[in-house]
């Protein structure tokens, strides 16, 4: 998952705790193996190296692609799982290595979910295009894990994969789970407190993943239409929703709105926090 994975279980039974932990571990590993773009011989690798050929996918991959397709529609093309190829020119390492316009423009023809032929569990993509579930995989793993645990145990548990969180139920005492919201300026401290009875919370932002040139901070959240970072994007957006993946999408959509992030979230009527 390229981040810390944590699971909190509220039980006095060591054996239940062990069983729940192994459910979580197995599911996280399974999803990582299946959908990581860094692994070979998984479905993502197969799609990305198909070189213009049709690829048939299994049910779960189809559901993820459907979901990504919905997100593309709902964000009016701003959330696009084919935009990962921009990483070839954008290296978000805190440096000042900004690509030039020609480099970026050369990449753009290889981006666009609308250019992908996706129907009947079959996907056909132009050569050179790639898909990447990085924008939703972690949240998906969190929700899947939470639901597997919930189906088997009544024990309250909190699943946290790199700051994307889902809870299975309120705490045993009926109170909410209390989660600190990290201060982007001082990662040792919390800037706010999240209280969660159910559902999930996700934070999107550019903590440690940005470029600075001429005092302009370039966020790692890129506009797939222009190939350039979103203008005046908030540094961090946290959203609470019924699932972690919804929370993650809403926070990403908000950042993609740039300076309109706040009014976007207000329209959605979700509990959220924006840090500029």
């Amino acid at each position: 998952m390229a981040s810390g994975c944590e699971i909190l279980i509220e039980t006095s039974s060591k054996s239940i705790a062990k069983k729940i932990t192994s459910i979580a571990q197995n599911e996280a590993m399974r999803i990582e193996h299946k959908f990581s773009r860094y692994k070979k011989n998984n479905i993502v690798y197969q799609i990305n190296s198909a070189n213009g050929e049709k690829v048939s996918v299994d049910d779960e991959t189809a559901r993820l692609l459907d979901y990504a397709s919905h997100c593309y529609e709902l964000s009016n093309g701003l959330f696009d799982i084919t935009s990962g190829v921009l990483r070839e020119v954008w290296k978000f390492d805190g440096s000042s290595n900004i690509p030039n316009e020609k480099e970026v423009d050369a990449i753009l023809p290889r981006i666009g979910w609308d250019k992908v032929n996706w129907k009947n569990k079959t996907l056909k993509m132009q050569p050179g295009m790639q898909i990447d579930f990085g924008g939703l995989g972690k949240e998906y793993a969190v929700d899947r894990t939470a639901s597997l645990i919930k189906n088997k145990y009544e024990t309250p548990a909190l699943i946290n994969y790199g700051g994307d969180i889902s809870v299975t139920s309120p705490r045993q005492n009926g109170r909410p789970w209390e989660i600190g919201l990290q201060n982007p300026d001082n990662t040792q401290s919390a800037i706010a407190k999240v209280e969660l009875f159910k559902g999930g919370v996700a934070t999107s932002g550019d903590l440690n993943r940005y470029l600075v040139k001429n005092n302009i901070r370039y966020t790692h959240i890129l506009n797939p239409k222009t190939g350039w970072p979103i203008d005046r994007a908030p540094r961090q957006v946290t959203v609470l929703a019924d699932t972690c993946i919804d929370a993650g999408m809403l926070s990403t959509f908000a950042i993609l709105q740039g300076e309109n992030a706040e009014s976007f979230l207000a329209q959605q009527n979700v509990e959220s926090r924006i840090i500029y």
Binding site: A241, T243, F253, L256, Q257, F264, E271
Partner: protein
């Protein structure tokens, strides 16, 4: 870069994710189920409070909460308020004035106030314009020893024209029973000094005598009125033990027992007692300063229930039983019903019933003639005519409208009618309209 149909994106995402996660879509994302609150808070509140023809308070408050780390939280609080108005001072005007009013003293003493009151010049004299200001500073440090055990220590300082108070407090909070039960034990000590212009008068000494009174009780020394002034110090120690119980997700109960000891100058330097003579048709022969005992021990039991039957309605009810060794006993019932009209607007109805019995040494006046009511054949040792120590009943009914301006700021307006009935028939029944306006901004 406008997103499509923003309003329904949340619902559409929820449908899409339920297909992805093979789950039943949840119908509403209940916003109340989750919230984000600030750890570091700076708040400013402005409150305007007025009791019709009596007291007006303008209060500005600044609050700062700073979380140092996970187990240490520091809070600072600064209050600045101005107060103006009048409150009963214990003397009887009803007998000699036409309009049956009682006399008033001002909120707390400036030189003007005392001089005008003591001259007994009538109603206008005590209406001298007046303003007192109070500044209060509080700091609190909250430390979590472990997840279920917390300690809080605090200190406070407040000052007015004629009053100074220093407070030190400490308490422990222990969560037990899977954190459904919180046990609290705490104490505080406050060192107070009242120093009206010139100092505090000696208790039960003579303030003024009627010039033409032919008959005077032998104990009344009018020829050589000598008021002794000194600052009045007192020490108050409060102790509290309490239990808060989470009954279920919608119900919470709280039970407290509190007791306190007060030592020192407990007399109110602005309260007086009339010496009444039939020779003056029941008018004032003289005016004495009141005098209270120099110790007081109080106890109270308090029970409160908070119940939230639905997401839109909140109910709060409480009862307090109070008693002390001055002979005062009091019962207070308080209730609030809150209803969310809209997501950002609520109304709250408030009802309060309060009854208290008189202190042993309370008497509305002293009778100069032998055989008269409240007659005293010697200078009274302990005496007060302060209506707040007499038998009384209060009924309060009111309504409050609150508006959430944005996430962290709110405004409210409260209107209440307070009716006070005194057992003492010399005191008129009071009807007071209370209005309060409150604004709170947080950064």
């Amino acid at each position: 870069m406008q997103l499509k149909k923003s309003q329904s994106i949340k619902q559409k995402l929820a449908l899409a994710s339920s297909a992805l996660l093979l789950a039943t879509p949840s119908i509403s994302a209940e916003k109340k189920e989750a919230k984000i609150t600030d750890v570091d808070k700076i708040g400013i509140s402005q409150l305007y409070y007025t009791e019709e023809e009596r007291v007006t308070v303008n209060k500005t408050q600044v609050l700062i909460n700073k979380e140092i780390n996970e187990s240490n939280l520091v809070k600072f609080n600064y209050v600045y308020d101005t107060m103006s108005g009048a409150s009963p001072n214990g003397r009887i005007y009803s007998v000699i004035s036409d309009d049956n009013s009682i006399t008033y003293t001002t909120a707390s003493g400036s030189a003007n106030t005392v001089a005008n009151n003591s001259s007994g010049e009538g109603i206008e004299a005590w209406k001298t314009s007046f303003e007192d200001t109070r500044k209060a500073y509080n700091a609190e440090w909250e430390h979590e020893f472990f997840r279920t055990f917390k300690g809080v220590v605090g200190g406070g300082y407040s000052t007015e024209n004629d009053y100074e108070s220093k407070t030190f407090s400490g308490k422990f909070l222990l969560d037990v029973n899977q954190r459904r039960t919180t046990v609290t034990a705490g104490m505080s000590v406050s060192l107070d000094t009242v120093s009206p212009f010139g100092g505090v008068p000696e208790g039960s000494s003579v303030l003024t005598c009627h010039e033409f009174a032919a008959f005077r009780p032998t104990w009344l020394e009018c020829d050589n009125i000598k008021t002794i002034f000194a600052p009045g110090d007192k020490v108050v120690k409060d102790y509290l033990i309490g239990v808060t119980q989470v009954w279920n997700r919608r119900t919470l109960m709280q039970f407290n027992f509190a007791f306190s000891t007060e030592d020192g100058y407990l007399t109110d330097p602005y309260k007086q007692v009339s010496l009444v003579s039939s020779e003056l048709d029941g008018g004032e022969l003289a005016v004495l300063h009141e005098k209270r005992p120099d110790t007081r021990n109080t106890q109270s039991l308090f029970y409160k229930v908070i119940h939230v039957p639905t997401d839109k309605i909140g109910l709060r009810g409480s009862y307090r039983l109070y008693w002390d060794d001055w002979g005062v006993i009091a019962h207070t019932f308080n209730s609030h019903i809150r209803y969310d009209l809209l997501s950002k607007v609520y109304v709250q109805a408030h009802g309060r019933l309060h009854w208290q019995g008189a202190a042993d040494f309370f008497q509305p006046y002293v009778g100069a003639d032998s055989g008269s009511l409240y007659h005293s054949s010697s200078r009274p040792n302990i005496i007060s005519a302060d209506s707040r120590l007499g038998e009384l009943a209060n009924i309060t009914a009111g309504i409050k409208l609150g508006i959430k301006i944005n996430k962290d700021s709110n405004a409210s307006i409260r209107i209440e009618k307070l009716q006070t009935r005194y057992d003492n028939k010399l005191l008129p029944q009071l009807e007071t309209l209370i209005t309060q306006f409150n604004l709170y901004f947080k950064f």
